[in-house]
């Protein structure tokens, strides 16, 4: 599916400058995409979707004629359930209760799902009326039929009167088996993915009430390994999952994208080698251990071992990475405890919970928009604050409790990954502890202090901002 999202739309949180000045009309994008796909004999293989202030059946009909199979609605749907386009979505201050978590304001919400149904029925009805008026029986018969569109020159004036619409309305020849809309569907090869093998092995073991402890090789065409397995575990054992390390796979090689995505509780993935982007995306209680090939001798603290955007939206679990991670590490983490030996730009952005230890250098914009959780950074050079986005966080000295937490996680890290670099820090914790700094979101700190007075609680573990 290819989405052509027009520049006329935008959320109520987007700045006026972007709304007014960024983007192009979807009409241009969808017609160009559609035509280019036809010229390359590819149109029948994809679904084209468009959005950007679609509101009426007429919009849908035009979008179809210009080449769209699917049509997205945003603003109009929200308006049908009570949005009045206050454009305060980012302020938690929506007076009609649509875009807010404020208890008082939520009470003002009066929308019903039926309103959306009703609205879309009207859109569909108008679309059908238009289709009937031009003698088209189904939406597929309408897609790409630009002969149904004409330019009303009377409505154009001034600068617009000379606009040449012929390229938008151009209809290329269809060659061979291609069509004007999607007719063939892609085989994703789900039957051949590595997870099937994992599930087969797990099934067998669980039948005998045994754990699984197996070694496998992995390569970078094995993507999202662990996702289907986690789904399988979840279906049987629910959200609570299995006891820790019940399912333990040791991989060797280079993992493809999304290694250990959504990994459920009770599953541990150990990887000797490397991994591409998105390691542990949305991890939900599992454990991921990654270290370089045992035969290699390069320094873990100086070499990148996993790609970008790791542990995006992590929910809970543990991660021990003996090496440097790429950019956007642990964005939107809400409960994962992770140890890593260095990160790229934007680490811990929008983080709301969990605990992250970085044993090496960080990129810039660390902790932007971070509203919860804690990060500890080993910063012997004292330059870390230059790399931080201090809008919502502050850097403070660590306390004895923090040292305890760091020691515990470091111990695990050394134990699981065998990192010499981490071992050195751990062994000299008396001296190295002073080089750790703590990153604390301001709002989160207030919250912790308030709850501390009420009851002494262990921070970070379960709090989900």
């Amino acid at each position: 599916m290819i989405l052509i999202s027009g520049g006329d739309g935008g959320t109520g949180a987007s700045p006026w400058s972007s709304i007014r000045n960024a983007g192009m009309p979807w009409e241009l994008g969808i017609s160009e995409t559609h035509q280019t796909l036809i010229l390359n004999n590819l149109r029948s293989r994809v679904r084209l979707q468009t959005d950007g202030q679609l509101r009426t059946g007429r919009d849908v009909a035009i979008a179809a004629i210009l080449g769209a199979d699917e049509y997205g609605f945003g603003t109009a749907i929200l308006v049908s359930i009570g949005c009045v386009m206050l454009r305060h979505c980012n302020l938690n201050n929506c007076s009609v209760g649509v875009a807010t978590q404020d208890e008082q304001l939520r009470k003002r919400y009066t929308g019903l799902p039926e309103y959306i149904m009703n609205y879309l029925k009207f859109v569909a009805m108008e679309t059908r009326e238009i289709m009937a008026s031009i003698g088209v029986r189904s939406i597929n018969e309408l897609i790409g039929r630009t002969e149904f569109l004409d330019v009303n020159r009377d409505m154009l004036n001034g600068k617009t009167k000379d606009i040449d619409f012929s390229r938008i309305l151009y209809k290329p020849e269809i060659k061979g088996q291609d069509a004007l809309f999607q007719t063939s569907f892609q085989d994703h090869g789900i039957g051949q993915v590595l997870d099937n093998e994992l599930i087969r092995r797990v099934k067998k073991a669980l039948k005998k009430s045994e754990g699984v402890h197996e070694d496998l090789t992995i390569r970078n065409s094995d993507r999202a390994v662990g996702a289907m397995l986690s789904g399988y575990v979840c279906r049987i054992y629910g959200e609570t999952g299995l006891p820790d390390d019940t399912i333990y796979f040791r991989f060797k090689g280079t993992a493809g994208q999304s290694f250990g995505a959504w990994l459920a509780k009770g599953i541990t993935f150990e990887l000797e080698g490397l991994a591409n982007d998105y390691v542990g995306k949305g991890i939900s209680g599992g454990k991921i251990i990654i270290y370089p090939d045992k035969r290699s001798n390069y320094k873990t603290e100086e070499n990148i071992i996993i790609g970008n955007t790791n542990f995006y939206g992590a929910i809970s679990g543990e991660a021990y990475i003996a090496g440097i991670a790429g950019e956007r590490f642990c964005i939107r983490n809400s409960g994962l405890n992770a140890v890593v030996e260095g990160v790229g730009d934007h680490a811990c952005e929008y983080m709301t919970g969990g605990r992250v230890i970085v044993l090496g250098k960080t990129g810039r914009n660390f902790g932007a928009g971070m509203s919860g959780g804690v990060a500890y950074v080993y910063d012997p050079e004292g330059s870390f604050s230059d790399y931080c986005n201090l809008d919502m966080i502050e850097i403070i000295e660590i306390s004895d409790d923090d040292i305890k937490a760091i020691k515990k996680m470091l111990y695990n890290h050394v134990k699981f990954t065998g990192s010499l670099y981490a071992k050195d820090i751990f062994d000299r914790i008396g001296q190295t502890a002073g080089s750790f700094v703590k990153v604390m979101p301001l709002e989160y700190k207030k919250l912790i202090e308030a709850s501390k007075s009420a009851q002494k609680m262990d921070i970070t573990e379960d709090y989900d901002g």
Partner: protein, 472 residues
């Protein structure tokens, strides 16, 4: 935006009026001026909506969120500049406007709307008090002469706009003082006439010429207007009243509401009225036929004159107290309006039709009425009488007076009798424009201002070929 969540912290403050027992003894303004800090706080309730429906609700598209923000920031001069950018007479609308903007305020959906009207009033009054409002004549004159017929809110705002654009403007007013309905239709307790004089003084100092006591088409001939001016704007209002031609209409003691209000306003202004023309409600039983604003003004005026008993009757059924599904937000709802004059006493009846006036010795003494059901059919056996010494007919207005300028210039009118114009506000007579009630039929002050401003835009465009005036 000032305070993001001001509306959650502060509630809407009601208008404070002087106590009824005190205010009906004089003709002074009935509301208290508001403290500035209350206005600043009330302004914080404005949410600066991404889509400000108040702009849409207001016929002159006032920059409401913008000046509310300025007010909250205590930037009073910025606020009044923003206010004046769209409104030529904010001290009038600030007192008299029914505030369609407040009915379309987003907070009206599930909260109480921002006190837009009162914030507006406070901004302009503060500006006058602190001496910020000074005459600002245009720096350059275009040399074009424009005659404006009528000095009501439409004529005045049209004149003000054109004067700002550098044209030489002359206003002709048939009454002996300028202001139109503002002066003669609205009682002093709602709008003290010194406020009109204050604004007129400003206009005159800015170079607008004002000629009173001159009726266009009679005292000054239409052809002279066409010869002497580059453009003419008719803003003569729509004062021809609806009559009630039923048995007994010829009896003494039955007056048009406007005749009564005009005379009462003249009396308040200190003019002497000849005794045979005098309409005085003192000690009389008064019946007002018609439930609108004009009727309400008659009620308030009669209270102040000491009427012994006042009844106001209306043909239509009693409206709902609250907005119902026929008038969803942000539309202006037809709901029960209890004015300050109604709070001062008297009775109100709805679904009542007057069938005849009963008199003795040539003077009205009773009204014979019936009650109507929802489809305006008489309910049998519902006949009743109301005692009355004076009856005021406040049934609405037919349209403009066709004698005089309209006839003189052979201007075409629509089927309702209003002056017909194109979308450029020009009448069937070239270079003659029309604005206000004369064009759209009797309406609100804020619509008159809107019309005046639009007409000025098109006049400037007509004369200069281009214009920098705002469309509204």
């Amino acid at each position: 935006m000032g305070d993001q969540s001001g509306f959650l912290k502060t509630g809407r403050k009601k208008t404070f009026y002087r106590p009824v027992c005190e205010r009906i003894l004089d003709n002074k303004e009935i509301s208290f001026p508001r403290d500035t800090d209350i206005s600043e706080e009330q302004a914080s309730r404005c949410m600066d909506c991404g889509t400000p429906f108040c702009h849409w609700g207001c016929p002159i598209g006032n920059y409401i969120p913008e000046w509310n923000d300025a007010l909250y920031q205590k930037q009073w001069t910025r606020a009044v500049d923003l206010l004046h950018a769209c409104n030529n007479l904010p001290e009038m609308t600030g007192r008299l406007c029914p505030a369609p903007c407040e009915y379309s305020c987003v907070l009206e959906i599930n909260d109480d709307p921002v006190t837009i009207r009162e914030n507006e009033l406070d901004i302009i009054e503060h500006a006058f008090e602190t001496g910020y409002i000074k005459p600002a004549p245009p720096l350059k004159r275009t040399g074009k002469n424009i005659a404006i017929i009528g000095s009501g809110p439409a004529g005045l705002s049209c004149a003000d706009q054109l004067n700002r654009a550098g044209h030489t403007v002359k206003i002709y007013e048939k009454d002996d003082k300028a202001g139109g309905m503002l002066r003669y239709g609205i009682p002093d307790f709602k709008l003290e006439k010194r406020l009109i004089d204050r604004r007129l003084d400003l206009y005159i100092k800015e170079g607008i010429e004002l000629v009173t006591g001159v009726t266009a088409g009679i005292d000054v001939k239409a052809e002279d207007l066409l010869d002497g001016f580059d453009a003419v704007c008719l803003a003569g209002g729509a004062r021809e009243p609806w009559d009630l031609m039923i048995e007994g209409r010829e009896l003494n003691g039955i007056y048009f509401a406007m005749d009564y209000l005009v005379q009462s306003n003249r009396r308040t202004a200190g003019e002497k009225i000849r005794s045979e023309e005098l309409i005085d409600a003192k000690g009389k039983r008064v019946v007002v036929i018609g439930g609108g604003d004009t009727g309400s003004d008659c009620v308030g005026t009669a209270h102040r004159q000491g009427a012994s008993c006042i009844v106001q009757i209306e043909l239509l059924p009693k409206p709902h107290e609250k907005r119902n599904e026929n008038y969803p937000w942000p539309l202006y709802p037809m709901i029960l309006k209890t004015t300050t004059s109604h709070e001062e006493g008297g009775e109100r009846e709805w679904s009542v039709s007057t069938r005849k006036f009963i008199g003795r010795e040539g003077h009205v003494r009773q009204l014979s009425c019936v009650r109507l059901d929802e489809s305006f059919r008489e309910i049998s056996g519902s006949a009743f009488t109301i005692d009355a010494d004076i009856v005021f007919l406040a049934l609405g207005f037919l349209g403009p007076d066709h004698n005089g300028i309209i006839e003189d210039l052979l201007i075409s009118c629509d089927e309702r009798g209003n002056v017909l114009t194109g979308s450029d506000f020009m009448t069937s007579s070239k270079k003659v424009f029309c604005a206000g009630d004369m064009r759209r039929g009797q309406s609100l002050i804020v619509w008159a201002i809107s019309e005046g401003r639009k007409a000025a835009y098109f006049i400037d465009l007509f004369l200069m070929g281009r214009t920098n005036l705002p469309f509204i």
